[in-house]
């Protein structure tokens, strides 16, 4: 959706996890690299652990130790 005063770009900040920004976006990183995405919303990594920085790859998620209860050790 084009940016305009009637339709400003919507950004959503959650408790944790990524910053959600309406696409398309062009992101300039600290090292000068530029990443572009035309997805309807992009998730920008805030924890800096992402292996596809600046995009979120869910690396912010809490990690469970072996033996700690987790439904997802079988996926």
């Amino acid at each position: 959706m084009p940016n305009s005063s009637e339709h400003p770009c919507r950004i959503t900040i959650g408790d944790d996890g990524p910053l959600l920004v309406e696409g398309p976006v062009e992101v300039t990183c600290a090292d000068g690299t530029v990443a572009v995405s035309d997805r309807f919303v992009v998730a920008l990594c805030m924890c800096r652990r992402s292996r596809m920085y600046p995009w979120c790859d869910t690396s912010h998620r809490r990690r469970t130790q072996p033996g700690e209860k987790s439904r997802r050790d079988t996926g």
């Binding site: 997805r39 998730a43 979120c56 869910t58 990690r63 469970t64 987790s70 439904r71 079988t74 996926g75």
Partner: protein, 320 residues
């Protein structure tokens, strides 16, 4: 192209229920007695294949099968009996809960080391495992996101807008070369597999059939819209980390650029879809219909249950 229009061939039967349904679709025999579904293994090959064949009439159909049979009343009666047996078993085997927050929380943590299929493929999977995995998953991924489109008319407002936006992304955001089902066909080509829709139905194991059937079941019944949303949320939330492991497996085996891209695209896309499905689709549906929490939770837990059965089956077949 001709092949696509004609639809895939009917599969081979795996027992009396599936034999009856397949013969009926060929205009070559009588339907099974709906009562016979009561005695069938609800997760077994025969019932799951019979149900899969019934549902496929709502997607692409089969070569040589009259399209009118999609809405044939006696066939729908049989389908209803199969669905009833399957859904009753799921409701029994998956504990009911209205603790939706807790169920979601369970999906949002990742183990440091896991024991499932994607972990095995990441660390030890060889090309033969990746091919077998793709053959099984092709039953869904070649119609990726199709079963979920049925829920759209049953949602409104925020839930509808969020669901439609994710589906738009799944369907390539207006670009045919980015349709996720097509990206999966690219993965299959890289692995030397046949990309024709329905080509590997005969190889589909019962747990894989059950996983696709549960999407069709939740998608086709308006009363199960909450479960469909829960199912979709479970897929999207768990996809990113699992796709990371599978991308690694493809890369390590030199499977090819399209095979890797299918999973790297899902790491990135599903990190977004997860956020939208939780905030807008689940959040919006609960605003409209707070009583849906139990069904959403059921959709999630039923999906995890069936995914675990599928993972166990694949690991057992590989004797790992």
């Amino acid at each position: 192209m001709t092949r696509h229009r004609a639809g895939p061939p009917l599969p081979r039967a795996r027992g009396e229920l599936s034999a009856g349904v397949i013969a009926f679709l060929r205009d070559d025999g009588a339907l099974p007695d709906p009562g016979a579904a009561r005695d069938a293994d609800p997760y077994g090959d025969d019932l799951q294949l019979a149900l899969y064949v019934c549902y496929e009439l709502h997607y692409r159909g089969f070569a040589g099968v009259r399209p009118e049979l999609e809405w044939d009343p006696p066939l729908l009666t049989v389908r209803g009996a199969l669905e009833d047996r399957f859904l009753t078993a799921l409701r029994h085997d998956v504990p009911a809960t209205d603790e939706l927050d807790g169920v979601l929380e369970g999906l949002l943590v990742e183990p440091i080391r896991g024991s499932g299929v994607s972990w095995f493929l990441q660390d030890l999977g060889e090309l033969r495992h990746l091919r077998e995995y793709a053959i099984q998953r092709s039953l869904y991924h070649l119609k990726e996101a199709d079963p979920h489109a049925w829920v759209l008319p049953r949602l409104s407002g925020r839930a509808k807008a969020g669901m439609a936006a994710i589906e738009y992304d799944e369907f390539g955001a207006g670009r045919a070369d980015r349709v996720h089902a097509g990206l999966f066909a690219g993965l299959m080509s890289d692995l030397g597999l046949d990309t024709a829709y329905g080509r590997y139905l005969d190889q589909g194991c019962a747990p894989m059939l059950a996983l696709v059937n549960v999407m069709s079941l939740f998608g086709l019944h308006r009363r199960l819209r909450g479960a469909l949303v829960g199912h979709f949320a479970a897929v999207e939330i768990t996809s990113s980390p699992g796709s990371r492991r599978l991308a690694h497996a493809m890369k390590r085996n030199g499977a090819g650029p399209a095979a890797e891209f299918f999973y790297t695209e899902h790491v990135e896309a599903d990190a977004v879809h997860e956020q939208v499905v939780r905030r807008d689709v689940i959040g919006g549906l609960l605003d409209d219909e707070p009583a849906m929490a139990t069904d959403i939770a059921f959709g999630i837990t039923a999906t995890s249950y069936l995914e675990e059965r599928l993972g166990d089956r694949m690991l057992a077949d590989w004797k790992v």
